[in-house]
Amino acid sequence: MDNVRSNAHGDRPHAIIIGGGATGCGIARDLILRGIRVTLIEFGDLGSGTSSRFHGMLQSGARYAVSDTEYAAECMAERRIIANLVPEAVEQTGGLFVSLRDDPADYPDAFLSGCHKAGIPAEELDPEQTMQDEPNISREIIRSFSVPDATIQSWRLVNILADDVRRRGGTILTRHRVSAIKTAGGRVSGVQVEREGSEYFVAGDVVINATGAWSARVAAMVGQGIDLELAKGSIIVFSHRLVSQAVNRCRPPQSHDIVVPTGSVSLFGTTSEVVDNPDTTHVRPEEIQELLDNAEPLIPDIRKYRAFRAWAGVRPLYIPKSRPVGVPLPRRHSTFDHSDQGVEGFVSVCGGSLTTHRSMAEDVGNVICAHLGLSARCISASTPIASGEKQPDWQPVRDFQRLEESGSPQVAICECELVAGADVANLIVEHQLTHLHDIRRRLRVGFGPCQGTFCGSRVASMLAQHHPDYSGQSDLTGFWTERLKGSMRTAWGQQARQSMLSDAVYRENLGLRLNADNLPEEDKR
């Protein structure tokens, strides 16, 4: 603790936010807009927790229209706000709810009236027309509805929020881990942070626990308990857009009932199983079979399509004191002011979804302001974010044109996701990026069907060019093993060949080695 980096006490209060997912980034923005100084501390890269291991949807709320109408209404309101605030991270695909022959026959009517109550514009469609519009889905559709579901690029969202916070003078520390929360006389005084073996103290007036699945662990640092159920969900990624809109089963929400088109891929999910450890990101092969079996009623040929990856995320669901038996846990978030339990200035938030991250942040902001005796109101919904181009993210035609206009088609670094060399170079220089993973998350390099087989070493070469002490061998190994970890789960059909090709390139051609020393460890928060 010799390296104390305490913030000099200025006139404005200082809030420390632990966790750089959608929630933490949203809170940082909410608070700084209310005039509070903020420091956000994230263990890995921004969004590297559940916020990137999700299903890609900016929910209209229709999914919860029957089971939790109030939460559905919140989703709809937030979905509108987010689409206005960060259009460059959102694609307004629209959503479909389809009722298949064997689905509960009374659900669709309840669904329509639930949507109506929640203010979700849902419209009944002609099932024949739906089947024509979506040729890959079941021919057994009895009823179908359109709702304003959308998709969102979470990497983009968190970085846009964080950039806005930085521009307004906030501090964002990534690759820092909070190892302890310090208190003095029943009040929080700051946090102890670890970075690459060294530790220091950051002083603050309030500390906010926005660590999602890890929030019970973090609360335990000051002896606080949060009742969480950790529900792991696994998702399979298919090449191409199998559907043009997010397609949901029209039945009470349960596992494996949504397929979502995003970027150049489709996501099908999810499984659901309770786990003990928030770091669990392992997808078991049995889960893959479970997903495929359950996808077949909706997408009959699903086993014939090319799947190229699978991942899992952990939902932090809050267990209310009076837990109703036999119904799913509520999705709405909960905010805890631990002052009530004797730790002044410490606030936790959990539950909710990526869609509702902003309203979660608003609630936290209200609690914090009440605590600090400030009257500043929430303006995060009405204050625009000044960032680059206000364009939807998925624009293949635009990207092709850009590559063509840049003179030589050879400048594409990643053909799958149409990433230009110049963009990679700019990013490396502008943001001082030193790792392939950081570039991957920002530009989707290596996200496509070849999973980094060809672009990995090209981008590594650009990093080597800009950073004299860049360690290519270990960075490439880390990048490739991480890509493999996800793609091996779906190594059948064409993807088995693709994985073997990737192995041929990385091990047989480039000469990387896989052994016990360099197999990727799961991140441990």
Partner: protein
């Protein structure tokens, strides 16, 4: 339309088996669905780079170390000495095709496109090795807009390994920057002396070794490199690029040209579909258009999962695609459950007897021989053994086929 042998798949092992059977005066028909995995090979013959035991240490004497492999490994199921004979034959036979290797029995460390070492039993005459770079001032040539060699990565890894290296930019002979097209523009270079003289002006003084991306021609590379060495007054070497590998294509071309000259029949773009077995034999293959071809022996050199010779279904079961042979795999879901490495997929494949004949029920199938990546129980990526196993099994399959056909070797 009968031939003595049908070779399914134009992998290195299949081409070798064909070449050897032609030497014995046999008639040969070759089916290939596409280009073989030599297109991914950085050049050079890798026999065994890493020992399976002892923490996967780098092997210095690969032939000596074969005995460390488990006893189901293709090298081990072949009789002792066969691998050595096959390699000797290969180096000599390809030498006659102007494809020259340097082999002294020990591994050299070939330079990979990422600047890492690839333990290699026989390196090409102009293939860059760490041995040749040791203590030398080296220059690495970077072509503008050429993406297939990560030059800065290569240079930084070589520097990390203690080598003196500078990057020198030079133009390409034409405006093509894709491997094959670029190699062809080197073949068509009108004035090689002029081209390399211009490069000489950009080279710093005292450069002793010049490293080029391995694209200096598909046919003219030896001549061009000789001119380069003369003009630049330095040793000139090639470093493999990302696939498709020009050195791999050169070898494929050399072998295929030779086979065509010796009246092998090629069916390119032809896939073979599973056909019937009678009395422990299969004497007919059928292509995807339904045409049947008779043969006394069939060699399956279809390149395993990488090249489509094996297929994995969505339940994790592995199938052999050409003849529908039985496949070994640890357990069905293993192909999909393997944690963090693809070893279960590498290890899956067809099991055979010592003559490379697969089992059919409880007996060996008399006239079928399986080679290369379609065989079970080896792992080219882990062992650094791709070309060695293909050459040894291709050669051994031809020997076994020849004796089945009633000839002596």
């Amino acid at each position: 339309m009968k031939s003595d042998a049908v070779i399914v798949g134009a992998e290195l092992d299949g081409l070798i088996a064909a070449m050897r059977l032609l030497e014995y005066g046999r008639t040969v028909r070759i089916f290939s669905a596409g280009s073989g995995s030599l297109h991914y090979s950085p050049g050079g013959i890798r026999v065994l780079g890493y020992s399976p035991a002892a923490n996967e240490e780098t092997v210095s004497d690969p032939l000596q170390s074969l005995s460390l492999l488990h006893d189901q490994h293709p090298y081990r199921i072949l009789e002792r000495g066969k691998t050595q004979s096959a390699l000797n034959w290969f180096v000599e036979a390809t030498g006659k095709l102007d494809h020259h290797y340097r082999a002294n029995g020990l591994n050299s460390m070939a330079v990979s496109p990422a600047g890492l070492a690839l333990p290699t039993y026989a390196t090409l005459a102009h293939q860059a090795t760490f041995e040749e770079l040791r203590g030398m001032n080296a220059a690495l040539i970077r072509f503008e807009a050429f993406r297939e060699l990560p030059v800065d990565l290569l240079a930084s890894e070589l520097a990390r390994a203690g080598h003196e290296i500078v990057i020198v930019d030079h133009k390409t002979p034409g405006h093509f920057t894709e491997n094959m097209a670029l190699a062809k523009s080197f073949d068509n270079l009108a004035d090689p002396e002029g081209y390399f003289s211009e490069l000489k002006h950009s080279l710093p003084d005292g450069v002793e070794v010049v490293l080029f991306p391995a694209v200096l021609g598909l046919h003219e590379h030896d001549a061009l490199l000789a001119v380069a060495e003369q003009v630049l007054g330095a040793r000139c070497l090639e470093v493999a690029t990302l696939p498709p590998s020009v050195p791999g294509v050169r070898l494929t071309n050399a072998l295929e040209t030779h086979l065509l000259h010796h009246q092998a029949l090629f069916h390119t773009g032809a896939e073979v579909v599973p056909s019937e077995f009678k009395g422990g034999r299969c004497t007919r293959v059928v292509d995807q258009a339904g045409r049947a071809f008779e043969a006394s022996v069939i060699v399956v050199s279809t390149g395993g999962t990488l090249m489509g010779g094996l297929e994995v279904d969505s339940r994790g079961r592995v199938h052999e695609t050409a003849l529908g042979l039985d496949v070994y795999q640890t357990e069905p879901l293993n192909a999909l459950s393997v944690d963090r490495s693809l070893d279960a997929l590498h290890e899956a494949g067809v099991e055979t007897d010592a003559s490379l004949r697969p089992r059919l029920g409880s007996e060996s199938c008399e006239n079928i021989f399986v080679t290369g990546r379609t065989l079970a129980h080896w792992n080219p990526a882990q062992e650094c053994s791709a070309e060695g196993v293909c050459i040894a099994t291709g050669w051994a399959a031809a020997e076994a086929a020849q004796s089945y056909l009633g000839g002596g070797s």
